[in-house]
């Protein structure tokens, strides 16, 4: 029995370093953006300054938000670029899930995730198609949050980049509407993060093929007998 077990799994290099770098930069930036964004929308008084000149607390919170925002945005562009030059697991085509087989797979995943069916059915090695669809939607939200964020930011600067996004203002009914939507958008990121992190841990736990660490070292494991 022992000897059969040896070599039953193969290592597959799934996430190249730019994808991993992108992922963790993104995760850290998003968490900081949620934290600082929440504080911008629900500010607390600084309790020990008596006069304004002694402090720059709220200004610093906003500054952190803006720095993270720029990192978040350019990092996102890097990922889009990598969707065209990266390996087959990170290609943009993975995120377009219109094929029938993909819908079938989504159904299977839903059965595993929600109805808790046996997870040992055959899944894709990279993102499963349900995950891919959700990531695709979240990329749209990345774009949404960037557009609304930069549109607001344009009021602080004469730089060109943010002004490219001010077209959204009349559509959303001015800065107030933009801020309102940007604020509501934060909740997508909060909910996404909770569910995403949980599902990563869950798949790692029930499938035992290194899902979590794949985003750290890049490797996933797959049974030899189901590999082509």
């Amino acid at each position: 029995m022992d000897h059969e077990q040896v070599g039953r799994y193969r290592r597959i290099y799934v996430w190249e370093w730019p994808v991993r770098m992108y992922h963790w930069i993104n995760a850290i930036a998003v968490i900081l953006l949620i934290g600082t964004g929440y504080m911008i929308g629900n500010p607390q008084n600084t309790f020990y300054a008596a006069e304004a000149y002694q402090m720059y607390f709220f200004g610093t919170i906003r500054f952190v938000h803006f720095v993270c925002a720029f990192i978040f945005f350019f990092n996102f562009l890097v990922r889009i670029y990598w969707g065209f030059v990266g390996n087959r697991f990170s290609r943009w085509t993975n995120f377009i899930t219109f094929r029938k087989a993909q819908w079938k797979e989504m159904w299977d995943i839903l059965r595993v995730d929600i109805a808790q069916a046996d997870p040992r059915m055959h899944h894709k090695i990279g993102h499963n198609s349900l995950a891919a669809l959700v990531y695709f939607l979240s990329f749209l939200m990345f774009a949404f949050q960037s557009i609304t964020g930069f549109a607001m930011y344009a009021a602080n600067t004469t730089a060109m980049l943010p002004r490219m996004f001010t077209f959204i203002k009349p559509i959303m009914g001015g800065d107030f509407g933009v801020r309102q939507w940007h604020h509501a958008g934060m909740w997508f990121f909060i909910l996404f993060t909770i569910v995403h992190v949980y599902l990563v841990f869950y798949h790692d736990y029930v499938e035992g093929r290194g899902t979590t660490s794949s985003m750290i070292g890049g490797w996933k494991f797959e049974r030899k007998d189901i590999l082509e």
Partner: protein, 372 residues
């Protein structure tokens, strides 16, 4: 029909008994109001001396007349005085002497005699429901008056939030279908939003049109950049408190007395483009925030629907007036965490057999081969 010869502005002022000195003072005030530096002053003077003063028509539709009230309180007395005089307001229901058929005649005489020359100022929105029955003047619908008057106008200025964005009467559910004028006519419209707009902004804009015969530089929403390119927040004197994180928590707390920032009280300064904190109101006396009240965003589109005014976020439609996106987000967030926790528990119950099988599959007591 006779077409009287229009005097230049300088001539008009002389007729009113103003001295050359008054005239030059006026020119510098006007130049300052429209933002040309002292280097451009001679152009202004030249224009005032040579250009015939254009006729002006001021129409009132669905409005409360606060724009007119504001206008006549312009802070540079000489600007207000002369602008009103030399504007030669041929038709303005509020300010004209004529009334009834006489007044109507004044209006259409100007429109017909000076095509392409007169400036059209519009205060108020236009009702689009009920075939325009909600606003009829002299037996005609607001829309038909506007269309005819706009056809030959040299420039069209939308006074106030009503004409620019629809203001209060277009607030949800907008029973009369109140519509801003730029959506109804083809002319380019200079929007001067505000409820009301600041008097000095109004005189500044109209002076610009009079002098240059065309609109000042506009932003992508049709507002003069000179006055609407900065937020109330950017030039607010309470801004240092904002940056420090010192906020008023309730209207009568110690922080309010100290004059801290009104951000948490729902101040719309950060999302409102207007010149209040620079120009101020009533001859530069004060502006809402200086008087202790947050900005309500009166120059922004749809500001009536972004309430409650004393709350940072608007209430979320359909969930009651107190609930914001955060209330709903928090409920969803707690729900998600609970769902995830429940899922984790059931996983360990339902997948017990599976986990056992995988454990069994695992290589028991595996060792790493030692080097020989």
């Amino acid at each position: 029909m006779s077409k009287p010869n229009r005097p230049t502005m300088w001539e008009a002022m002389q007729n009113k008994g103003y001295s050359r000195r008054d005239f030059l003072q006026y020119c510098s005030a006007a130049a300052a109001a429209i933002g040309v530096g002292s280097s451009g002053l001679s152009d202004v003077i030249h224009a005032m001396e040579t250009k015939a003063r254009p006729p002006v028509v001021w129409l009132h539709f669905q409005e409360c007349t606060c724009c007119s009230e504001s206008f006549i309180r312009s802070s540079h007395p000489i600007v207000a005085d002369v602008v009103l005089d030399y504007l030669s307001l041929d038709y303005s229901e509020t300010l004209q002497a004529a009334s009834g058929h006489q007044a109507e005649k004044c209006l259409w005489d100007t429109v017909n005699n000076y095509p392409g020359e007169y400036i059209l100022l519009v205060e108020g929105s236009i009702p689009s429901k009920g075939d325009g029955a909600y606003c009829m003047i002299g037996g005609r619908s607001a829309l038909s008056i506007l269309e005819e008057a706009a056809a030959g106008a040299m420039a069209v200025i939308a006074w106030g939030s009503c004409a620019s964005n629809g203001c209060v009467q277009s607030a949800n559910p907008n029973p009369t279908g109140a519509t801003s004028i730029d959506k109804l006519i083809d002319n380019p419209v200079i929007k001067v939003p505000g409820c009301p707009p600041i008097a000095d902004v109004m005189t500044g804009v109209v002076t610009h049109v009079l002098l240059y015969g065309g609109p000042p530089e506009l932003d992508n929403q049709g507002r003069p950049k000179e006055f609407y390119s900065r937020r109330v927040h950017d030039t607010c004197y309470r801004r240092p408190y904002y940056d420090a994180g010192l906020f008023v928590d309730s209207w009568d707390d110690e922080n309010a007395r100290k004059g801290y920032c009104l951000y948490k009280m729902g101040c719309r300064g950060p999302v409102t483009y207007n010149a209040c904190s620079v120009t101020r109101w009533n001859e530069g006396t004060s502006y809402p925030i200086q008087s202790g009240h947050g900005c309500i965003g009166c120059s922004e589109e749809g500001f009536w629907d972004n309430g409650p005014f004393y709350q940072h976020l608007a209430s979320f439609p359909g969930f009651g007036i107190e609930s914001t996106a955060d209330t709903i987000g928090t409920v969803l967030g707690i729900g998600t965490v609970a769902g995830v926790a429940a899922h984790a528990v059931t996983t360990n119950i339902r997948k017990r057999k599976l986990m056992k099988e995988t454990m069994d599959e695992s290589v028991q007591g595996a060792r790493v081969k030692r080097d020989k």
